[in-house]
Symmetry: C2
Subunit: 557 residues, 2 copies
């Protein structure tokens, strides 16, 4: 019964560097002795208080500190929250990327945009294939999701097998390719699985997730009922199966298809090049060619289903799209649900489209790409892991999956809800969080990566709330005598032309303050700035109950 | 068959000054010859792009221009989107307010805060009572809603009867008082109604709205299942019936009740004073007294169900509440649904509460206060109006009600979807939009009413996105020679300590620009400012792909 020394002491470390207690920014390190492999490398979109930020990527200090151990990245699928940080992270840690064909295709386009195609190694992996890297072996298992070519990973380590589902759903009747390889989950389950890291996104929803094909039927009904209208359908660019179903309907009902929106055009070109999208001959037309066909013989597939202000659909809705104008006879379909946080912008677009007279269909033309409660139970039953580690989700989603595991008989000791940064040490003898590594959000704003931090954001927040008042004055070098000013310039505070008396009074407050300081021979700049700030701040608060940022600037000549 | 001259030509003008194509800010003028009455006087909450704005009230220029005609305000119920603008509007148009008892009670508290109790006349009206004002007669009809004492109005004008539902639902088993007076709707319908202005909020939802009492059963189940936990329930302060049901449960299960949140305390005091809330003896305790009772014998009713950052529940969640700390044994109930736009903040609070170990129940402990499709059909059938004028809602809600009216057999000529500002002239002979009046959003920011407009908001937006760079220089009077600067100060742009080289280079760009201008003898301040702005703007865009606001300031000595 005595195990070898190695087996007794060896522990696998599972270290999520992002993606837990949040939606997005999925990245998890698996470490065993001198080997680290990383699963996914995603970004997240800025929270409401991250003003002006374009996107957020994970802090990978831990990987950089252990750069010699890092062997490669395994990517489960091609969504931004799983691949979006690759160009930034791979600049610092240049190791090979392993993923399925479509996923690599999408990553390639991203690397190309960053001029990194020649520097980063990518390797296309097939389902069932095993990759040996350091002391790990990683197997790709077919799953279903709202993007094709999604994979779960079986990670074979000396401490045991970990199954990571990636984002997944169970679709017995997928539009393209095979159903999820449930049998392989079962086969691996029979070998004995140490831990299951399972998608929690829909863990609050009872029942089963519907097949993508069910949306095809709804779309067919819409095409049938709107034979006399132009049809415009907004959906997620990366949902190639959805696009395929729209194209199938277009073919059936004798319509040409125009594609609008950069990301939609991109994905469709990648997917059709790689054989994931089958396009009937001559069905695609340029948007410019739309005018050559009667409206009722056309469909436009567009981005913007989330109400993104710069996307094609928004521009159509507010009349700034250069090539497509909404007409009263249009039927516009949102083949999507709003992602939490986007509800208001989506509603705004719907209202605008309706005001232009269009018929807008925005309910029940979508199914989720994530497993619901009964699907999650199915995977647990097949994999039968010793430990449950819910992943992908806010804390409430992780808790919801933990409750499912409890229902399945797991005791709380065998359910591990981790935070990003936790180091979980795990083997057959136990699982325990033994430490923390540095993690965090690195904010990308324009070309700047990480140059905007909390101080800058706090300033932006303050500027956004109440604007800024700048006070400038010129003092004589040496004497400190006031030569010019104090002058006031404000932005985002009040509309000055309507508030002249307020600004005049503010000027008087400043003059009084400077007089008092001069009388008291105060020449210290720090002191002058503080007094100016306090006097003006008090005055403005009393008069307006606002707290604009006040910046005193002193020039010396 | 010939009608009198008066009957032939007299037309009622219906002029919505807010509340259409938006949620909130309900206010509608009814004008006949020299009489104007106004229904409701609400505020709306700022949209996402109204940075720093506290609330939005209607532009009432039209009423001010016709101040001699304005006879009074009729208020349908005590929600902010129907009463919130009263203190601002009545400062300018001081006419009497007519409403039911609780509504007046809530308005009184609001006027008191603004020191206007002595200047504004209020009159309590009973259901069934008729008020004669100018050439109008207005009858208050009992309805149900998520606040008590809601009324529909029958507006008798020389041109015909208009029925305005206010916000309403049909509740056959209300918690307090009577069910909606459907019979009276029918009776008035039989007299012949010119137009029905009906609540559209839930016009997209099929079926019937559930009774408020159904929530009582759910609450009872929660109290039954969580006998060993402290229970904290967040709900809308103004939903006194909900509070009553929580108190009933507390009494049944032997718990004391503490109230948290200023608006909750306010409403409960008004409602119990006026007899709308029945409090068992000694059931209420102060929050300070909570520690004197075992957790399982207490309930806390709190504000914050919408995730408002300053509300009591948010402070409990993030650990900054001075009197209540969340414990792992707490059961926290959201007896509410997130209002569109609040989803993310509500989810954020749920996550925080769960991380503190609390059990959080946030689904299905709420019913709506608005009529669903079948309820709307019921009202149409009873009132049987000649014209349908959907009110209360975004455009898509108005369209949804219009579709219901079409199903009921109304032709599109008899369905009038209005925009705020439209002047609808209506009588038995026809209904037509004949003009527009000035309407708009007046933004309230601190003490300022209307001093923040689009220019200020645009500046705040820009400041929020990319911050500000201030360039100051001192020139010699007359010669225009550069005596000091250009110096650079930035806020919300980059964290300067990490971006020293960028700021140094920016300084060089400015020095070069000034040198060039000096060489060319440019002394015109406008020209200098433009050149500085352009040169620095180009440099910053090239280096960072950001567009901070650039403010050049020239001092002269």
């Amino acid at each position: 019964m005595k195990k070898t020394e190695k087996q007794n002491t060896g522990k696998l470390k599972i270290i999520p560097l992002g993606g837990l207690e949040q939606i997005g920014m999925n990245i998890t390190a698996f470490e065993y002795e001198d080997s680290i492999i990383v699963v996914d490398c995603g970004l997240s979109f800025p929270e409401d208080d991250m003003l002006g930020i374009d996107l957020v990527i994970p802090d990978i200090t831990y990987l950089k500190e252990n750069i010699d151990k890092v062997k490669g990245f395994f990517i489960t699928h091609g969504h931004e929250d799983h691949i979006g940080a690759i160009p930034y992270v791979l600049k610092e840690i240049n190791v090979p990327i392993y993923a399925t064909k479509l996923t690599i295709g999408i990553i390639d386009r991203k690397l190309e945009e960053h001029g990194m195609l020649k520097t980063v190694k990518r390797k296309v992996v097939k389902y069932g294939q095993h990759i040996n890297l350091g002391c790990f072996r990683v197997e790709f298992i077919k799953t279903n999701h709202s993007i094709q070519d999604a994979a779960a990973l079986a990670i074979y380590s000396p401490a045991g097998i970990v199954v990571h589902t990636g984002d997944f759903k169970v679709d017995y009747t997928p539009v393209f390719g095979d159903a999820i390889d449930l049998a392989r989950f079962g086969e691996i389950g029979k070998k004995g699985v140490l831990a299951l890291m399972c998608d929690s996104t829909n863990a609050e929803r009872p029942g089963f997730t519907q097949s993508e094909k069910s949306v095809g039927k709804v779309l067919d009904g819409i095409f049938e009922d709107h034979r006399k209208n132009r049809i415009i359908i907004a959906t997620f660019a990366s949902n190639v199966d959805r696009v395929q179903q729209i194209i199938n309907c277009a073919e059936k009902y004798g319509r040409k298809v125009a594609i609008e929106g950069r990301s939609m055009v991109n994905i469709i070109s990648i997917a059709s090049e790689l054989g994931y999208l089958s396009l009937p001959d001559n069905i695609l037309i340029d948007v410019e060619q739309l005018r050559s066909y009667p409206d009722e013989q056309t469909v436009i597939i567009t981005t913007g289903s989330q109400g993104e202000s710069m996307a094609a659909l928004s521009r159509m809705a507010n009349g700034t799209h250069r090539k497509v104008s909404i007409k009263p006879n249009d039927t516009i379909v949102f083949s999507s649900n709003p992602i939490p946080g986007n509800e208001k912008s989506v509603t705004g677009i719907i209202n605008e489209l309706m005001m232009k007279g269009a018929d807008v269909i925005f309910q029940d033309v979508h199914v989720s790409g994530h497993a619901c409660q009964e699907d999650i139970k199915l995977i647990y039953s097949l994999v039968n892991p010793k430990y449950a580690i819910p992943v992908h989700g806010e804390y409430k989603h992780l808790v919801a999956q933990a409750k499912i595991a409890e229902q399945l008989g797991y005791d709380t000791d065998h359910i591990k809800i981790l935070s990003s940064g936790d180091v979980l040490e795990i083997n057959e003898d136990g699982a325990k969080v033994t430490g923390r590594v540095h993690v965090g959000n690195v904010m990308v704003d324009g070309l700047g990566v990480g140059d905007v931090g909390n101080i800058v954001l706090r300033d932006r927040q303050r500027l956004a709330e109440d604007g800024i008042i700048i006070v400038v004055m010129t003092l004589e070098a040496g004497s400190g005598q006031l030569l010019a000013g104090p002058d006031i310039v404000s932005r985002g505070f009040v509309y000055v032309r309507n508030s002249e008396s307020l600004m005049d009074e503010a000027k008087c407050v400043l003059d009084d303050t400077m007089e008092r300081l001069t009388d008291n021979n105060v020449t210290d700049w720090g002191k002058i700035k503080t007094e100016v700030k306090d006097a003006l701040g008090d005055f403005v608060w009393k008069e307006t109950k606002r707290r604009p940022m006040i910046i005193p600037i002193i020039m010396e000549v």
